[in-house]
Symmetry: C2
Subunit: 379 residues, 2 copies
């Protein structure tokens, strides 16, 4: 048995002369995957669940505090309410793994990592990566851990894209798949928002064509605006009305100037500023582009029983949210039709929630019970 | 009779020692209003229609070409299909006026105009203006033209806000009002998009705290991103799917780089670049802020028959679009409930269209007939 809850670990592979061949044809190596695990892997290694994090997330899913540790000064994970002993994804039963995605800046190799030939950060010399490439690094990690099949792969948003990619790239390794608040491919609207975020970063002179790591000046202004755009797409009209309405921030009347008047302005500026402290602008460029390129429609259509009668059937639980306007329910329904046509085992739940795309990150017993029940129902 | 179709004219008032007192309490003067007119004013001066243009528009509603002039090299107006002899707003019957709004950069006084004390552009020394202040400059123009009552005031989006402001500020001067694709006040979502656009401009170092007019370097990058954000809010998910989908721009496969891949990216960059050539960044800051401040809910609630039994009743035609997610139909319905409660004469039409907020600027016979019929029905 592997031991429970470890701190962040690193797996590095593709050392010279080996290289990772990317979907674009470009080569990359060495490749480091930062990951964390919770729970214990059985001797048969048949109880592993891979969690795929969203766009700006990382491997830190949960602190998984024990009794008496509640006051510990720790950084909470992004899915505390979902993952832990006795929770929806029960770490008493499952060995849970989450790896930081390729191209990110949270421990795995990305544009801010040192290029082996120069020792300096790649910047835009970093090759374009795809959701498929991210999944390949996760596959390499599982090989390293000796895991040949996943009980489940679960993730929301860009994490949900990884779930879908897993199910067409390594279907034999996936017993069940839970794509949440996601899409088979970006709409023009989703591409538009990502493009504006990228343009905002590239418009910042400190971006300097991606070479800012040793200039002492980061493209913080452009990155902050990019994050504000993201935040609006993660919320919804209703959620913003409820959360902010037209309430003023620390004032009774308008300032008649360009300082903050409304709470929503204060919130956006705060989110923008907070983000630049933790995230790398180039990583945002690479990951948004990977999301825009992502398109599994053709591969899902062709993976059906007509083409491959020996295919293994994956149990899917597709989840969407009523107020998600980035990946609306109509896109989840397209996914379901495609999966059913190809003979997959599909369950679907649209959750009523007014909080928009980000709903899956907000504590909600309905989601916990839904995923817990689904996992229990699979042997 | 005044003569038909004139070129752009200017009316300047509030010369010292006179001043225009703004809603904020600040003073401004002299104030220039750029305007154009079409058709002939009757001797009774009772056939005037005021058109209020949207956010980045101007006084140039139509070229109103005569037969045989169709090949003339001219700049088309923003409502060619609606305004002209025999059209929805019939210049054979009505004397049509459109004035550039205060704070803009299309001829009327704005932050790019020379401040009288220095002779240099105001920049951020320009006082904050409101939709009410814009309406007051239009009122001053009408006084100058000797027009005491408008047959109608008509406008979409920020123009619609001016229509509503007219109807509460000078109700006795308005016979009928046609607010299109507009709102009584901005939602948090609408404020959020405006704030991000402003932040994008202010993040551009060339913005230089608003002092860029004589530096030779304008905040074009920030302004372009601001415009891209605007453009996404003017379209809709459906319209963008139809118009762009995931089609690539002049290529067969992905570039695996940060150049344009998708048509929607190309479109946004083009819109951004086109815009910086014609619009002033500071004007965008001022006008978006005026739109965010705009709130006629309280005044509309208090203008009802309970409070003023002698009030004059305005005939309203409220128009919304099914796919407008900036000022959705639920906001038009709030307006209608408020108007009805206060005893106004209200008609409402929600037009089925997939092209989003900007729909009223796209040639559509339904809109032409709707407005034409409404105007004909009022004596």
């Amino acid at each position: 048995m592997m031991e429970a809850k470890k701190d962040r670990q690193f797996y590095t592979y593709a050392f010279p002369p080996e290289k990772m061949i990317l979907e674009s044809g470009a080569e990359l190596g060495p490749v480091t995957v930062a990951y964390e695990t919770w729970g214990n892997l059985t001797e048969k290694k048949d109880n592993a669940i891979l969690l795929a994090h969203a766009f700006t997330g990382d491997s830190h899913v949960t602190e998984n505090l024990k009794k008496g540790e509640e006051d510990k000064q720790v950084r909470p994970g992004w899915w505390e309410f979902m993952v832990g002993p006795g929770k929806g994804i029960d770490t008493d039963k499952y060995f849970v793994i989450c790896a930081n995605i390729l191209g990110s800046c949270m421990g795995s190799t990305g544009p801010g990592s040192p290029a082996p030939d120069t020792g300096k950060p790649y910047g835009l010399d970093f090759p374009m990566v795809t959701i498929g490439d991210m999944v390949d690094t996760q596959k390499a990690l599982l090989d390293h851990l000796g895991i040949q099949q996943l009980h489940a792969v679960i993730g929301g948003s860009v994490g949900g894209m990884q779930v879908l990619e897993w199910s067409v790239r390594y279907p034999e390794m996936v017993r069940c798949a839970v794509p949440i608040a996601t899409t088979m491919r970006h709409s023009a609207l989703a591409i538009a928002f990502n493009e504006i975020a990228r343009q905002s970063i590239m418009a910042d002179p400190n971006w300097n064509n991606g070479n800012y790591y040793d200039t002492g000046k980061k493209p913080d202004m452009g990155l902050a605006v990019a994050r504000m755009i993201g935040h609006v797409t993660y919320l919804s009209d209703e959620a913003m009305r409820r959360k902010f309405g037209r309430r003023l921030q620390d004032k009774e009347t308008f300032s008649f100037g360009f300082d903050v008047d409304f709470q929503v302005e204060s919130y956006l500026r705060h989110q923008g500023n907070k983000f630049v402290a933790r995230f790398d602008a180039n990583s945002l460029l690479y990951i948004t582009k990977a999301a825009d390129y992502f398109d599994v429609v053709a591969r899902m259509n062709h993976s059906g029983p007509v083409n491959n009668r020996d295919q293994n059937i994956i149990k899917y639980l597709v989840i969407s949210y009523t107020s998600d306007w980035l990946y609306p329910t109509y896109q989840a329904k397209e996914l379901i039709r495609t999966l059913k046509r190809s003979g997959q085992d599909v369950s679907f739940c649209e959750i009523e929630a007014d909080c928009g795309h980000d709903a899956f990150l907000i504590p909600d017993e309905r989601l916990t019970h839904l995923i817990g029940g689904f996992l229990d129902g699979v042997d």
